[in-house]
Subunit: 497 residues, 2 copies
Amino acid sequence: MNLIEQFRARIKKIKAFVYLLQLAGWDSNTEAPRKSHRRRGEIISEISKELFFLQTDPEMIKIVNELYGKIDELDDLLQREVKKAKKQLDKIINIPQNEYVEYQRLINDSQIIWEDAKANNDYDSFKENLAKIIEYNKKFALYYDPLANPYDTLLDDYEEGMSMKEYDKFFNALRTDLVPFVKEVLAKDKPSYEKFINDNFDPKKQEEFCNYLVDVFHFDRNAGLMKKSVHPFTWNTSPEDVRFTTKYLENYVFSSIFAAIHELGHALYEQQVSTAYDDTLLNGGTSMGIHESQSRFYENTIGRSKEFWEVHLPKFKELFPEQSKDMTVMDMYRAVNKVEASLIRIEADELTYPLHIMLRYDIEQKLINNEISVDDLPSLWNDTIEEYLGIRPNNNSEGVLQDVHWSGGMIGYFPTYALGTAYSAQIFMAMKKELNVFELVKNNEIEKINLWLKEKLHNYGSSKTPKELLLMITKEEFNPKYYIEYLKEKYTDLYLK
Amino acid sequence: MNLIEQFRARIKKIKAFVYLLQLAGWDSNTEAPRKSHRRRGEIISEISKELFFLQTDPEMIKIVNELYGKIDELDDLLQREVKKAKKQLDKIINIPQNEYVEYQRLINDSQIIWEDAKANNDYDSFKENLAKIIEYNKKFALYYDPLANPYDTLLDDYEEGMSMKEYDKFFNALRTDLVPFVKEVLAKDKPSYEKFINDNFDPKKQEEFCNYLVDVFHFDRNAGLMKKSVHPFTWNTSPEDVRFTTKYLENYVFSSIFAAIHELGHALYEQQVSTAYDDTLLNGGTSMGIHESQSRFYENTIGRSKEFWEVHLPKFKELFPEQSKDMTVMDMYRAVNKVEASLIRIEADELTYPLHIMLRYDIEQKLINNEISVDDLPSLWNDTIEEYLGIRPNNNSEGVLQDVHWSGGMIGYFPTYALGTAYSAQIFMAMKKELNVFELVKNNEIEKINLWLKEKLHNYGSSKTPKELLLMITKEEFNPKYYIEYLKEKYTDLYLK
């Protein structure tokens, strides 16, 4: 075998291991029985050891470094892939095997501990694991680059090319331009749809509506499925197996609907990646930020548009005739775009959402840089959310324990949510130049929007960087002004006119 | 590491690979989307290659052979384990790696092809895969023992120590003693509950009843779950993760109920194995026959007893008031024990069931020994079932395509179903000497029956052979007379008095 064939064979084997570990993750997060976690943890340790070896053994180091040494001779796709491989290798090469395995194990254990902690509002039972997770993340970041701020390294893990410097600039723009606007909208008297929104909606009927949405958005059911879980997420191993979850709350029907549409955005992206990348490092969405741009676009720009409810309110009324008998399209449009200070990020409205992210960005920075400890976290969380939104969590389950991310070792991930939402506004501007987007939504032709995104973005998988994609699609670099303009226009129209 | 530690470490790693492959199997058989199978097949090939290497590389051969060489120095449990390891090794050591991998791939592909073939009543689309599966099984058996009849080797795979000679004896006893009795019962005028049995039962309510049964049988929900699938099955990776499926037919409520109880029998066995065997070759039920003795015991001896319906008919009536309004306990007892010539094995009654197995045993023997080809199969199947039961399938979906086993590479498995049922009658005789079984059933105290089985049988896992277990529990060797007596007594009482 020549060098490239060796590289291909090794990547293929690594991907097979990753595939099975991913499958275990899907199972753990959707249906695995509680007691299975003990042994599963042991299995995952064992396999992680093998995977670590495959990724870092002298043979692999030799292959990657030799290819990297003659990168200019490779074709574009292979160049991109070898660069990714080199970076991945450098990220773990200095991690001692036992630490890597212990960390995998810790992450596995922490899932169930977090679930229990959240269910029982018991932060103390989770905080030791959280402290360890933070410690490992910091340590691993410093192994990669001892001179960089470890949070910069982590940020780059989730969004290639991003650092605190750029995020600070972005969040400062939001703080300056958007926050006063949000306060203005919050202060305004607005119609309340509280009774409707918190009415009782049979979860079985909610599931029926979500199943209807799966088809409205032209999700390929032969290449995926929808299920339920505690925390909605999207999972994929290839464009031919993309799964997502939503959750059903009896007294908050929008939770299942918008979680489903949000995850459908992620899922459609993954289904439309070229299968040519399956056994390469170029498969799947290119970054968390670009991924989030897709989920937020489907959820907010489409799912919370007036046109969307013009066509889908009848189905909703068919399933929930009692609850929705007085609701007009305009009522529904306002109800799904209700703006209020709220505690739970994934249920926050489009306008206050970035404040939830700013909070997490601030906290992660401080945690990684030792400015605070896990003991300070609940009160800092509660104080900050009160400062931003004027409301305070009653308990840690609706505060610091609400998100799955940290228990899964994902630190540096949150900022991509706000960034992705901003990307989506910029991409939407480009899309509107070529498509009559809301007309398509109104005609129930979302497949044409999917197709545009497939051609411009989805099919590329990870073969382009986020920055390259944004430039290709929008002809300019990232600019938060589109996001701010989009929000101001929509919410002025809704509430300030 | 000393030799034993090396052995332990290697077995642990092998089990980790097997675990993840099992998980992929569970997923494939319950929810994986159709298009996922292509790539999954590739992944499974890749991992199977690794597993094959772990099981057969020179290091493993050396460890096992060295331990086997000084087997008398080892403790009892380790002796048993090393003997199993040696046998497993000998079973695959002569299989060329590429054949092994191709076979795994074939099995993976065949699942979906069989599913489609069954759904579309299209045997031709499946028969080539079936022919290949048979060819591989024969070839692999001959690699192990070129002098033995390959079907003997396959039979031993599923039931340690069993061969055609012993099965012939067993089936001949049934043929001589039982078949005339079956014909007598079939010929007898019996009350028909057809309208009730084939009434319309909402699958959601059926699921509710099955969920009720899960608790009646004291299945540990924290260590497992129930789901649905095309063909009911039980799956486990350890006593702490045991899952089973059932299926819901709108016009045949007994299908879901008795499939659920049957699988609960398998599942309870697995949940009660000692966790001490988790990372050894002694985990899980000891053989297919002993496993089937448990599933059949719970399904037939308990689930089809009068006492069972005395306590659970009220719940059934609560869920299906309309359909069951005229049903007394005695009616229900007769309805669940209806005897008739029928086509589908898993829906056959307790009395005609062994005839379905005899058919498969005859056919497998002939297929493996080249007396027939896959082309002859549909007509041979139909002719034989007509000869035994006087009825003929209308299509191959209710004939040769009905069972999942062959598509999964399981040849030599079927006979264990009849054998296991016979074991169960013998074990039941022993149990009755110590427990007032039907009194416990009537008092809804099945947990006490579970406990007896745990102590006498389940907890041992595979640390004893089927023959050892049977001797320990019943104080005698396998004797089919208990099975024949049990059936004659029950069905004489029901229909010939």
